[in-house]
């Protein structure tokens, strides 16, 4: 199994949204492999379930989350350590994922994406017969 990051910028937003000026950030991810799947965890704090898009198309996995800036009312920002913006990241996968069984969960700002390996990609033990 191989997973390679693609150097790709997010698509330009549709005309209707051109007024929404947002920054884009690359979310931190952990990716590990088990016997039967590839598991990706991404930190996307501030993203609500309906604002997250995960797409797998032609072995290209795209994660795109939108964040609404915190409504602080009339208060003014006096100390800043982070900025809010959208999350965007693209990976290329080797073509061994069972696309019908992908499972995505978003909880407490962490996306957990389980990508099951297609049957033929699983490691198989091959019995070697010996001839005398």
């Amino acid at each position: 199994m191989s997973i390679v990051e693609r150097d790709e910028a997010a698509p330009t937003r549709a005309e209707t949204e051109a007024t929404r000026q947002v920054r884009q950030f690359v979310p931190d991810v952990d990716i590990h492999e088990t016997d039967d799947s590839l598991v990706l965890l991404a930190d996307v704090p501030g993203v609500k379930g309906d604002q997250l898009t995960v797409r797998l198309e032609k072995n290209v996995l795209t994660i795109h989350g939108r964040v609404e800036a915190l409504d602080a009312g009339a208060r003014s920002l006096i100390h800043a350590e982070y900025e809010t913006g959208d999350y965007y990241r693209v990976f290329s996968l080797s073509d061994e994922i069972d696309q019908d069984r992908i499972d995505a969960k978003l909880k407490n700002g962490v996306l957990t994406l389980r990508l099951p390996k297609a049957a033929r990609a699983k490691a198989r033990k091959i019995d070697v017969s010996t001839e005398s």
Partner: protein, 142 residues
């Protein structure tokens, strides 16, 4: 690692490099660079709002305390269990215990603090201590 011969966005390359370097250092020293959450502070006339990005915890895992003009956040961002280091393709998420204190611009009322945790973002609403609130002073004319 792939190199492109083009400079459409040189910062992108640098960011990518920085990420990869972080991964190298983290795996070499076996601990993440920084688990403490980043926070923003907003000030109103009589109150303060502190927002921190702490994905992957619950409110029960967080210990929030206030003393005078200091807000302290303690907690732990737990790593995924039962994953051997060799099974990782990438490891960028920050994990580990953290304990940070934030100096606020004024004293706050420790009995009037509200904390909320939603979508990985903690917001703490604090009210200025009574003696810090602006008071209107009526000037009597003689």
């Amino acid at each position: 690692m792939a190199y492109r011969w083009g400079f459409a966005d040189p910062w992108r390359e640098l960011r990518q490099l920085q990420r990869e370097m972080s991964t190298v250092f983290e795996s070499a020293f076996g601990r993440p660079i920084e688990a403490a959450p980043p926070c923003n502070v907003f000030a109103g006339e009589n109150d303060l709002l502190v927002a921190c990005e702490i994905p992957g915890v619950t409110l029960d895992d967080l210990d929030i305390s206030v003393m005078g003009d200091t807000l302290t956040l303690k907690g732990e961002r737990k790593p995924a269990d039962e994953v051997g280091a060799e099974a990782y393709h990438r490891r960028e998420r920050r994990t580990g215990p953290f304990n940070r204190s934030i100096q606020l611009p004024n004293r706050v009322d420790p009995n009037n603090v509200e904390a909320e945790y939603e979508d990985g973002v903690l917001t703490v609403h604090l009210n200025k201590a009574a003696e810090e609130k602006p008071r209107k002073i009526t000037v009597k004319s003689a």
